[in-house]
């Protein structure tokens, strides 16, 4: 078979991975499956589109493709701003909705509320931007061969590099900083964390901020290599959860590796069987993990 599927799978896996980190973090700290996480991907992409448009209005040259890439520095700066905005959106959603329900107890209510929030956020995007797709750039990119049989576009290479950088940054935050240690502590034993003087509400805010920002980065990448549309994040939901669970919920390296497995399996399936089977792959992997090894590849507890 043509080895191209490996490159395509890794690129898809990188985008899934950034989203899956957020899923795994919110799950391990709040014990909550957030089905609205996909919307942060979509909202992040649209926020970047709008911000890039604004920057392009102020500095027209910002939108010209930089070097071999299809977009200019405007999208990069817009993406960074939108990461903050999406993080704040996640914090806001928690303050307005999830936190209130969490305090009332029943965790299933919070999960259902995330379904509702997901629908509302998506409908709002459709209302604001219609369902027709948007693009950061219409430039066609020429894929260059990296190894025999595998071609990658400059955009895709940049995205892979950024994913590695972001994943490493999150890993360093979690293992080397006080906030990271606090997050791991809250995830293991919230009551003991409070006894030690850790402000749980603060830790929860940072978790949402981080998860939202990474989802935005994932959305920008998806927008660059595919397109921007209101359903883009929702369609990622199954791969996101499959990756987080495959990697072992709570594990950041696990989420990335899980995502790469899902991405490459999807690409292989598309090549071997047909594109209409892509969506089934994440689902089958999810079922297989839950049956064979529910704690995932790197999971400590379920």
């Amino acid at each position: 078979m043509n080895p191209q599927f490996i490159a395509d799978g890794l690129v898809a896996g990188a985008m899934i991975g950034l989203g899956a980190i957020g899923v795994t973090l919110t799950y391990s700290i709040l014990r909550f499956s957030n089905f609205a996480h996909g919307e942060f991907i979509s909202w992040g992409a649209y926020a970047t589109l709008l911000t890039a448009g604004l920057i392009g209005y102020l500095a027209p040259s910002s939108n010209e493709g930089y070097g071999p890439f299809s977009v200019g520095w405007g999208v990069l700066v817009a993406g960074l701003i939108a990461m903050v905005l999406t993080g704040l959106l996640a914090v806001l959603l928690d303050r307005l909705l999830f936190r209130r329900l969490r305090r009332k107890g029943a965790s299933i209510t919070v999960v259902m509320a995330s379904f509702g929030a997901s629908m509302a956020l998506r409908a709002l995007l459709e209302f604001l931007f219609t369902s027709s797709p948007r693009y950061f750039s219409r430039d066609l990119q020429i894929a260059v061969p990296v190894v025999p049989g595998i071609r990658v576009t400059p955009d895709q290479m940049a995205l892979l590099g950024m994913t590695v950088t972001l994943a490493l940054a999150v890993h360093l935050i979690l293992t080397q900083t006080h906030m990271g240690r606090s997050m791991r502590a809250v995830s293991e034993n919230p009551a003991l964390a409070r006894v030690l003087g850790i402000d749980i509400d603060h830790v929860i805010h940072i978790t949402w901020l981080l998860g939202g920002a990474l989802a935005c980065a994932s959305g920008v990448m998806l927008g660059l290599v595919v397109q921007i549309r209101p359903y883009m994040g929702f369609d990622m939901l199954l791969p996101l959860f499959a990756s987080a669970i495959l990697g072992g919920i709570g594990s950041v390296p696990g989420a990335i590796i899980g995502a790469l497995v899902v991405g490459v399996s999807e690409a292989a399936t598309v090549q071997l069987i047909g594109a209409e089977w892509r969506a089934a792959v994440a689902f089958l992997l999810l079922i297989a993990v839950l049956l064979i090894r529910p704690s995932g590849l790197f999971g400590k507890r379920v």
Binding site: H178, E188, L196, I198, I200
Partner: protein
């Protein structure tokens, strides 16, 4: 006259509204002493210490640390006020290394001196220094207890509260842990010790309070309580002695 560093008055508290576990508990800890709270299973000792720490909702009553009212201070601010707490179970982060457990506590203080304190404590607990890279979950019971105590000391508290540090330890280990508590007292830190192990606790404590059904039933100097018939009936006798909660005070 001795100064009181921790004073709890008429505390009513419980896990669920309308179901108080503590029914007016009053205890105090004097500066530089080890005060112990004893009582049968389910008497509410852990609930008392958790309520003081801000982990169990209080209905009424007052908790003062020095002359500060800390009744309504949230749990995560207690450390900043000088009150440290070692819970009865799950008192270390098992998935983190010994070193990360201590650094976590030091990080809360947001000062360089806290990190110096980590090294000081390694000096005070040499066993932990040797195992700093080990996951806390892999420590033996005694070392785990030592880690929990060391972590509570990072912040140099005025009062250290411990919930059954002897639980699950062999008599020899209990002796080692309690010896450490005496050394800690010698550094000027006052201790509130909740215990089931009556003999060991009375052996190191200056003063003891006995709790029954959510209130303190009996109080006295540790040395005299050790020979007290009421204590004997509670802990050594066969009958389920019930103390009249109010009259029993000497």
């Amino acid at each position: 006259m001795k100064t009181t560093v921790l004073r709890v008055e008429n505390l009513v508290a419980g896990y669920e509204p309308g179901l108080p576990i503590l029914n007016g508990a009053s205890i105090h800890v004097n500066a530089g002493e080890i005060a112990t709270v004893l009582g049968p299973n389910g008497a509410g000792k852990s609930t008392l210490i958790k309520a003081i720490a801000g982990l169990v909702p209080k209905v009424s009553g007052q908790v003062c640390l020095g002359d500060r009212d800390i009744t309504d201070v949230p749990a995560h601010r207690m450390i900043g006020n000088g009150l440290a707490f070692v819970p009865q179970t799950e008192n270390v982060f098992a998935t983190m290394t010994v070193d990360d457990n201590l650094r976590l506590a030091a990080g809360v203080m947001r000062s360089k001196s806290a990190l110096v304190r980590v090294d000081e404590l390694y000096g005070f607990f040499p066993d932990l220094a040797r195992q700093r890279r080990l996951l806390a979950g892999r420590l033996s019971g005694g070392q785990r207890q030592m880690l929990a105590v060391a972590r509570a000391l990072i912040v140099s508290p005025t009062v250290l509260m411990l919930d059954e540090p002897s639980a699950g330890l062999s008599p020899k280990l209990v002796e080692i842990v309690f010896q450490k508590l005496l050394e800690i007292r010698a550094t000027g830190i006052s201790i509130l010790l909740v215990e089931q192990n009556v003999r060991a606790a009375l052996g190191i404590a200056d003063r003891a309070t006995i709790m029954v059904e959510g209130r303190n039933a009996h109080e006295g100097a540790a040395a005299t309580l050790a020979d007290d018939p009421i204590v004997a009936s509670l802990y050594l006798g066969a009958s389920k002695a019930r103390l009249p909660a109010t009259e029993a005070r000497p």
